[in-house]
Symmetry: C2
Subunit: 194 residues, 2 copies
DNA sequence: TTCTTTTCTTGTCATATGCCAAGATTTGTT
DNA sequence: AACAAATCTTGGCATATGACAAGAAAAGAA
């Protein structure tokens, strides 16, 4: 835990005193997930969240017809968390799955609570993360209404190139709110423009 | 501030001690907004949030083509807040406008911070509200992908009847991600089914 | 390397919803 | 009450995207 890892990029000395870092960081446990492994499954309650050290992760929901809809993708330095389940202590509607072998840093709810209520900087940082997630979710949601599928795809490519390149087309398509067929055509169109 | 109002439904004696309530509640200032008045406008930073005592309020974003897209509707006992702007202290992309004359209880950022960091129950309650908003936003967002416009409208009607009845068709339509024309046809269809 | 399975592409056709424009209706104003 | 403005409905047509199915390509397993 004292070697350099992604946690040091997340909990910086700008936001936390050394003393606080010494309290916070040792609580994170290194966790490895194999490709295909689930970090969280529908119906369970999220008792942990993670920061990604390496690898790709996807969260998705399954709708009434059994279609799976990607809700997010995660990679290095991202926080992987089901906010509602983790904080409301309710069973989740989401699945979180490793797309590749992954290394993560895990924190459990109880420890989180203890840090949250005892360290002001920790709760400010946590709140910021949640608000940032909210903001991005709203942007995505509004984009589903105002933008064409192609624009949404182009934005994903420009903002998360590694996702667009490494994740299966069908999983990206459902995130964009379209079918894999449509995304395939959109990709073709873009390729032909160049 | 000691008479019964909606704040007593929001800050209950189950979640807060009497002493805490005595500290918290007097910080809320009664605010009246006239129909059409803006609580927040694009470009400004949110320095307040409100609980609605009475009336209807709408938040909306304006996209690049100048179309306005409803992002939410608020009524009695709802919290009216632009989470990202309020917490990140950044200028907002949203507008919040009174659809009818409204009475609200207002809290400013500084006071919020002070309460948040000093009263554990207050921060638990605040976090819950944010998480709940997140959850609802995700549900709406997923619904835009998995459900037909008609289903989305029916759900809105069943969950927020007073909104569907009191808000202009065009504003509801943009919330549902469709045009006013389409919503008008959907309404007709539903009416004909009965 | 070969075989199997999964993923991606492409064609054809269907459909939900958008766009535009004209009336009808409702609401607000003088 | 009368007019103006905003909102809602309806028609005709356009289009983005979906559904289904078949083959091509890529990835994984033996």
């Amino acid at each position: 835990m004292n070697d350099k890892n992604v946690l040091h990029k997340i909990f910086t000395e700008k936001e936390f005193s050394q003393k606080e870092l010494d309290i916070i960081l040792p609580n994170f446990k290194k966790k490895e997930f194999l490709k295909g492994e689930y970090l969280l499954q529908e119906g369970k309650t999220a008792n942990f969240y993670w920061f990604v050290e390496s690898g790709f992760i996807r969260s998705f929901a399954v709708d009434t017809e059994g279609n799976d809809v990607s809700t997010n993708f995660y990679t290095e330095a991202d926080i992987v968390i089901d906010w509602p389940s983790f904080f409301m202590r309710t069973s989740t509607k989401e699945n979180i799955q490793a797309l590749t072998d992954c290394t993560c840093w895990q924190l459990d709810f109880e420890t989180f609570q203890q840090l949250f209520h005892s360290i002001e900087a920790f709760r400010e940082a946590g709140r910021s993360r949640l608000v940032k997630s909210y903001f991005e979710l709203k942007r995505h949601s509004t984009s589903l209404i105002t933008d064409q599928a192609k624009e949404r795809y182009l934005r994903l490519v420009s903002e998360k190139k590694h996702i667009a390149q490494n994740v299966a087309l069908k999983q990206i398509a459902s995130y964009l709110g379209i079918t894999d067929t449509s995304l395939s055509r959109i990709r073709k169109e873009i390729a032909e423009e160049k």
